[in-house]
Symmetry: C2
Subunit: 418 residues, 2 copies
């Protein structure tokens, strides 16, 4: 197979399809989403059979248990895909919204119209339900999509692709609106991220290694975050009960997510009071603590943190703890060691809360709330294609709006420039 | 001089300065802008003397008349720089605006806060007034700036840099908030566009060659447009008086600007009526016409257009004209040959105007208005750092808002995720 020729064919078809889907009525797009849900419901057996093939080769190839778990399509996960499609269909259509249409002194009216980005490339690993999630968000936002899943999920993804194709067909849309790459050849990824004529943006979902490689080699914009080194800072003016609850929830509600706290910062004057209580709560959950020297004076049972701990995303029951001199040191630490993902302060001080919101340079900044809230559903976006820690285009959880752009519209009545 | 070390030093200082300027009060930023205006007014003689040096070496190096004209600082151009600084000081500060702060079912409040991008790199040619324009917009939007002007303007730019430094000092801000590169070594550009640790975005202003090179080699996002192949489409339902006025103004109000019409599309049923009138108007202005075969049946005096004419940005009194079968062909032509900059339809038809707005994939789309309106001042942005034809981040004229991003803010009262 000539991968370059195949991918350019896919890209060219996606570009053509993007013109069609960009102007498709909301009703047509919703029809395609609902019909896809129905096709998936009708194809449960085929999906499970295709998935069984992937699981079998996965086991034969020695995939670890976590990967196999993510790869598996259970009846409950199929239910969730169907539900997700109905949810996206129910979201408001972002395309075509005109805002700020005002008269200018020249007499023209100028406003902005929300428009699709064009062609979105999605690169992801193992979880086959991403195929449906990503395709549905791109479709609703009027984009054509090229999906490149992991080779370990190829049968599952192709079976899901058939359902999406059915859904598109029912709504009178061409299959090229959502294309799932048919080859497992890794060269396809290299092509996909270097076709600026055909692809407007890449959204990678997966491990840090994959995303770093894509960011380095891409010739098109990438919406991404590399990791989530999230902080909670317990200020001296914190309500210590809120601090305790938030610090425990931010770390232990789930360990493997990017919005989980990885480093706890504690203001010096309250360290001796709160750290022992926290240590007890963490001990009950089995969280390993790695502290700075001042932390270890209070908690001798903590391991000694090394420099690398301050920028580590553990994704595990491990927590780094540092006692800081004041808010200034906390902010400086977060901006230096953090990953600009999500950081929270616990304080009752108006002035310090205000400073934290302004000065912490992260995609989500919080006062008195758990970092675990940082996601598209909790923020009310309805769904999420990913989280961006970049500043260009989209920052924080990215929903339908992040998959669109805005163009200027000008309405005149024969107006010319003097 | 070790350019790599010098540029990394500049970058590192800009990154530190960006933290300071990001949290600076609006009053402080305005004070720096006004004090810079005063410093420029007080330094008129020094500016003219420095500029005279540049002009002298420019002449010695055989720069053409157009370049020398752009390079020259006249008393009127110095007045304009001063006026521009006062205008930017008077614009609303975009930083810190919180929008959409709403309660979520969990009890948290979620909104978006507008924040600076960080460090903006500006690369430009000849016109020294860009130094002040760009620096003032970046300063007002809370960004640190690294400016890299053309080597032919080095003395003028350094003299202006001294005035900006004075202005920053008066407001108590460090000089590193606005740094003008001191070397004319071309390697400095290569470094500036490949320091993602220190630079958040590059805005190149200049010829297509410069911008293409920067886009190809940059390792940071670039806000840009390559060229402006703008169209006016005269629909069969146009008011022919409006069509005449708009088609003449779009081409002839200024020839060298990116929003000037380069190709005129005429709907077949009205071609025989309107083209002779237009040809007469263009002849009076000395505009050379290059037409398709159908155009030349009506206007035998027109030269024969070749394929390359449809994607040419003449920036000169030359116009390509094509007769098209209908609106579909016009839209397809614009999306295929255009540069996604600015395109207008002249029509009285509601349905066709609506379709044109939706389906033309350009950063500005217009009904019954001259393409020459596409700029930041005419759109009410107050000023313009450039125009973007990309879809990511900013599209169309880019003002203060385009130099900012939005982060999520979450306000809780001890809320945790269940």
């Amino acid at each position: 197979m000539d991968i370059n020729a195949y991918m350019r064919e896919v890209g060219s078809e996606a570009r053509s399809a993007s013109r069609l889907i960009a102007k498709a009525d909301t009703g047509v797009k919703n029809k395609a989403l609902i019909a896809t849900a129905e096709a998936i419901d009708a194809a449960r057996e085929e999906l499970m059979a295709a998935n069984a093939k992937d699981l079998e080769s996965g086991r034969a190839n020695g995939l670890d248990a976590a990967l196999l778990d993510r790869l598996e399509l259970t009846p409950a996960r199929i239910d969730a895909m169907i539900k997700g499609l109905h949810q996206v269909a129910a979201l408001p259509d972002p395309v075509g919204e005109i805002t700020g249409l005002n008269y200018r002194p020249s007499g023209i009216q100028v406003g902005k119209m929300r428009v699709p980005l064009g062609v979105v490339g999605i690169i992801y690993e193992s979880r086959p339900n991403v195929t449906v999630e990503a395709a549905s968000l791109c479709l609703k936002s009027g984009n054509a999509t090229i999906l490149r899943g992991g080779s370990e999920a190829i049968h599952s993804n192709q079976a899901i692709a058939a359902c999406i194709e059915n859904g598109l067909k029912t709504a009178g849309l061409p299959a090229s609106v959502v294309q799932v790459i048919k080859t497992t050849d890794r060269a396809a990824v290299g092509e996909l991220i270097t076709m600026p004529d055909y692809v407007d943006v890449i959204v990678p979902r997966g491990g840090k290694g994959l995303i770093e490689r894509i960011s380095r080699e891409a010739r098109v914009p990438v919406i991404k975050h590399l990791d989530g080194v999230c902080h909670v800072f317990i200020d001296r003016d914190a309500d210590l009960n809120k601090a305790l609850t938030i610090a425990v929830n931010s770390k232990t509600q789930r360990y493997g997510t990017c919005n989980t706290m990885e480093t706890l910062l504690v203001d010096a004057p309250v360290a001796a009071t709160i750290l022992p209580q926290l240590a007890q709560a963490y001990a009950e959950k089995g969280v390993e603590l790695r502290g700075c020297e001042r932390t270890r004076e209070i908690l001798p049972q903590a391991l000694s943190a090394v420099e690398a701990d301050w920028s580590e995303e553990y994704l595990a029951p491990i927590l780094a703890i540092k006692v800081v001199e004041n808010l200034d040191e906390a902010i400086a630490h977060i901006n230096h060691y953090g990953s600009h993902h999500t950081d929270a302060i616990v304080t009752e001080s108006y002035s310090k809360g205000r400073r934290f919101l302004t000065e912490v340079d992260s995609s989500s900044v919080m006062i008195n709330a758990s970092t675990r809230f940082a996601d598209g559903f909790e923020y009310g976006l309805g769904a999420e294609i990913g989280i961006s820690t970049d500043k260009i285009h989209a920052r924080g959880p990215v929903g339908l709006e992040g998959l669109t752009s805005q163009k200027y519209v000008v309405l005149g009545d024969g107006h010319i420039r003097q």
